[in-house]
Symmetry: C2
């Protein structure tokens, strides 16, 4: 099946399945019902069964899903059985927090390079990563073919940084700048802007 023929929302739910399955595994659970997965994800159990049917049959009627089997399968589907290199651009307060966040490497995402334009930050080593001058970014990243970038730069710099990274082979960008980037087809983009979430809350408050 073509990768793009599975709905994006289904793919976006798979990491949440993995989160839940990891938790169940730590608790020593051997199986889980579609109903329990459904409650965790806030969807129907029919939706769970439909999601997983895209990738083949996993469950047994009346028994549910084998936790370890399903976890291994989903990790394999998402290509998570390898280390993914990540470049981080923008080492302000948020960038520093992300560099220090151990949740990335624990999940197989290794920030291997970091860039900034502030002379006070350039040269510092944060969580084992030396911050380099952003003017060297293309020279240093192009040869390494790093597939993923995290952008924690001001809104005004984000598009230019994205363009440079894509030019150097980056295929997916996690963008924290409060601006919508334009990227060529085939480049994956996800935006993390907490203000957008807060502004959705206030509709209901």
């Amino acid at each position: 099946m073509e990768k793009t023929s599975i709905p994006k929302v289904v793919i976006a739910r798979l990491p949440v399945y993995i989160q839940k399955l990891n938790q169940l595994m730590r608790e020593g659970r051997e199986s889980v019902s579609s109903q329990e997965m459904a409650e965790y994800l806030g969807v129907t159990s029919a939706q769970i069964r439909k999601d997983l049917s895209f990738f083949g049959g996993f469950g047994k009627k009346g028994v549910g899903y084998d936790v370890i089997n399903l976890l291994e399968s989903l990790r394999s589907i998402l290509n998570l059985n390898q280390i993914w290199e990540v470049v981080l651009v923008g080492v302000g307060k948020l960038g520093q927090a992300l560099l220090s966040y151990q949740g990335f490497s624990r999940k197989g995402f290794e920030i291997v390079m970091a860039f900034d334009n502030d002379p006070n930050i350039i040269g510092q080593t944060i969580a084992g990563v030396k911050v380099r001058d952003v003017s060297e970014m293309q020279n240093l990243t192009c040869p390494r073919n790093i597939p993923i970038a995290i952008l924690t730069v001001p809104a005004g710099n984000a598009q230019e940084m994205a363009d440079q990274l894509i030019h150097c082979g980056v295929k997916a960008i996690l963008n924290y700048a409060p601006v919508t980037l334009k990227v060529p087809e085939g480049i994956r983009l996800a935006n993390i802007d907490p203000v957008l979430s807060l502004q959705t809350f206030t509709y209901y408050l």
Copy 2:
């Protein structure tokens, strides 16, 4: 119309409309077509017209939407013409970055209290907010009726903090802890976990 009768995905798009309209206003633009909005949001122009039809007619055939009118209307629909008080729990590196982030107050979200359990952080003032002992959280927040909380605590503490905040009147939680929280019906919850986004990328890479 009942607030909950409009699809959540429509409400979640409105802040992105506002982001685009703000940009157009800064550029001095007076009107915008549904086609241009559609390209920005990555949906069809029919979807844009359908979204906005939930709230009444805004556009004129052949002219498009009046930028300032639509912006004012959407801001009013989302209740953004007021200051919203926010409490932040967990003043580690990420919490400190969020406290210092000016994008919140610029958009009408004011972090008025911050709590942590680390004696080295308690008592410090960060971006004008004094960090208080989390053991005082209920005493200090309950009387103030703060509607929104940002959770930047470790996964293991997140549910207990959420429970305490909801007990004290918090109605919406922006959760950065990598765990899915259980909240009563009627409480709004949004999760920000960058690893989930990265794990979605790797499917396509």
